[in-house]
Symmetry: C2
């Protein structure tokens, strides 16, 4: 007898095993956990994801998750719609919103260019971004993309697509994390933090 | 805007967050993964767990998962039903079955005594085990329970409950893992492996 001897268990283990970073052992642990719960709780567990997938909408403007056609950021008139922060996915929107330092709008790519995973420029929302910029009301594009090989490729690709428009094209600052010891920062980060040094007065948080 | 601004996302994150070892960040990663899948795949994902919980049965004899009243181990006449291996949950049944070294039957407690988590003797299948033993056909109980504080407590509790029956009460051998360097074994394990040394002839796998 093993996991595969029971079809219901096997199916459930396989479904959990599809989640990113979850192997067969962890999946089985989840399954055993569910088996110990009340049937109505498991009913709710399963149906929540079905409701999620069927109920979620994406903002027509920025591809952020939304409950209406426009998300609450795009439809907020207090936000500066001439500044657009380009991010990989909605997790980054949550992270930047939590800083309370940004008052522009977003553009959610829904991924980054990653040839190893078969993700090309057509698989992410670059065309939609170019179209937004071509309307002429955007003054600045801030690329808030991870500084990885794939991230840099994505930034460079978008830069090329947008280079003929009269806009500022910026990326978020790289540098030593606030509170981190200099000696533990990697050379590239430390190097960039010196290269992109700023006047002291500007470094004071207002 | 944060995770909580969208009810569907919030609900799904909370549901994943109930799984053992899954925090809010990982839960959100799972949710974003599901959002990228086809609706019919997510439908299948959610419904699998509902079918699992409603469809799974437990063996009336040993509390193992089962498709009928008796599990395939209890109903297999080639297994020696006079030897019962007591385990914490069905994962341990899978693990022991995979060794191909055991031909007795099982008793699945469904947990171990853990006062910190509020699990007492009444919350696990000890009474059912005592009842099985009291029928008089069981000759040996093998405790295959983790050597932790909670595991030892559980073994001792069951030992006390069964001490008046005329049965052999054994626990699995503790010792240095096959293939492990002696110098890396902890003192308790190494000490037990010397204390419980066996004749060389017996150590040869047949």
């Amino acid at each position: 007898m093993d996991i595969n001897s029971n079809k219901l268990i096997e199916d459930a283990v396989n479904e959990f095993g599809r989640l990113p970073g979850i192997g067969k052992k962890t999946a089985l642990r989840f399954v055993l956990y569910l088996l110990k719960q009340k049937p109505e709780d498991v009913e709710q567990f399963g149906s929540t994801f079905i409701r999620l997938r069927n109920g979620i909408k994406y903002c027509e403007n920025c591809n952020n998750i939304s409950e209406k056609e426009l998300c609450e950021i795009c439809s907020n008139h207090k936000r500066d719609s001439s500044v657009v922060c380009v991010v990989e996915d909605i997790r980054d929107v949550f992270a930047i919103e939590n800083t309370n330092q940004y008052y522009g709008v977003y553009h959610v790519l829904g991924g980054i260019i990653n040839p190893m995973d078969g993700v090309g420029p057509k698989d992410i929302k670059v065309d939609a971004l170019v179209e937004r910029v071509s309307k002429g009301e955007i003054k600045e594009i801030i690329m808030a993309i991870s500084a990885t090989m794939e991230g840099d490729t994505t930034i460079f690709y978008i830069f090329k697509r947008l280079k003929d428009f009269d806009i500022k094209f910026t990326t978020i600052a790289r540098g030593v994390s606030v509170g981190d010891d200099l000696e533990y920062a990697d050379e590239v980060t430390l190097g960039r933090s010196i290269l992109h040094r700023i006047p002291y007065e500007n470094s004071l948080v207002k």
